[in-house]
């Protein structure tokens, strides 16, 4: 799969599956709305600070993020680390007016935070075409890219 095809899977998906380790170190998955991307390797997710996956990522940032094009049976699993941001700049960047139904306190709601996922590797899946990307390939592709919202 070419880098451009992997980037297309990511930009075309409204949701991603966030993999993390639960309190017993076992794999767990939470589906998240994920439309803010910086190339292939960087992703921002607005979510609830109180949710179990955020609490776990604060303790152990090991994570993966899986994007799929279901109609084409294509997918890419990014491996890397997630960190939780609560600063005003990240909050404002991802905030939509409609979000007040999830966070009644608005952009400063204590339960509102932004998870950033940064990839250091990837594995892509397509029938007859399975392969891996190394950290350097992702960094090279992403050079100069800025976060933008692709809308899913």
């Amino acid at each position: 799969m070419r880098m451009e095809e992997i980037a297309e899977i990511i930009r075309g998906a409204a949701f991603a599956d966030l993999g993390f380790l639960d309190e017993r170190g076992r794999p767990s998955i939470r589906r998240v709305f994920c439309t803010w991307h910086r190339g292939i390797g960087g992703h921002l997710i607005s979510t609830n600070t109180s949710s179990s996956h955020v609490r776990r990522l604060m303790c152990d940032g090991a994570a993966c993020l899986y994007f799929a094009n279901e109609a084409r049976f294509e997918g890419v699993c990014l491996t890397g680390r997630a960190m939780v941001h609560t600063d005003r700049a990240h909050r404002e960047m991802l905030w939509h007016d409609g979000d007040v139904k999830y966070y009644p306190g608005g952009v400063d709601d204590e339960d509102y935070c932004v998870v950033e996922f940064l990839a250091d590797g990837a594995r892509y899946y397509r029938l007859g075409d399975i392969g891996e990307l190394a950290d350097g390939q992702i960094a090279e592709w992403d050079a100069g890219a800025k976060y933008e919202c692709c809308g899913g």
Copy 2:
């Protein structure tokens, strides 16, 4: 969410996301075709013996299986263990004639195997309704159930 609603999410999904630990103990995800279920807690997946998730599950069976109803923003993440079966009974149970395009050697193809996932807990997600199932609740619901193919 009621048990019946969780079972409906599972029966209605053609695919699931299988979470496992990679060779460095980090979470990884592979989307799998998963239509054979035994109640809420038991699931069978036909897949390639040579694939990276199967090789990893043979070393470490800690796994999770996430089913979603995307249209309703509902999901359930089952936590448990996965094991790899290569016996004739499992192979025959999941075999379809069309599978020969994936496994040229047919039902006895060395690259064909069946992964069984058994849940010991679950976490379900719906807007305003997030909760957990314990092992005992799943076992009670599944009592007497047999594997059947729900067709997705």
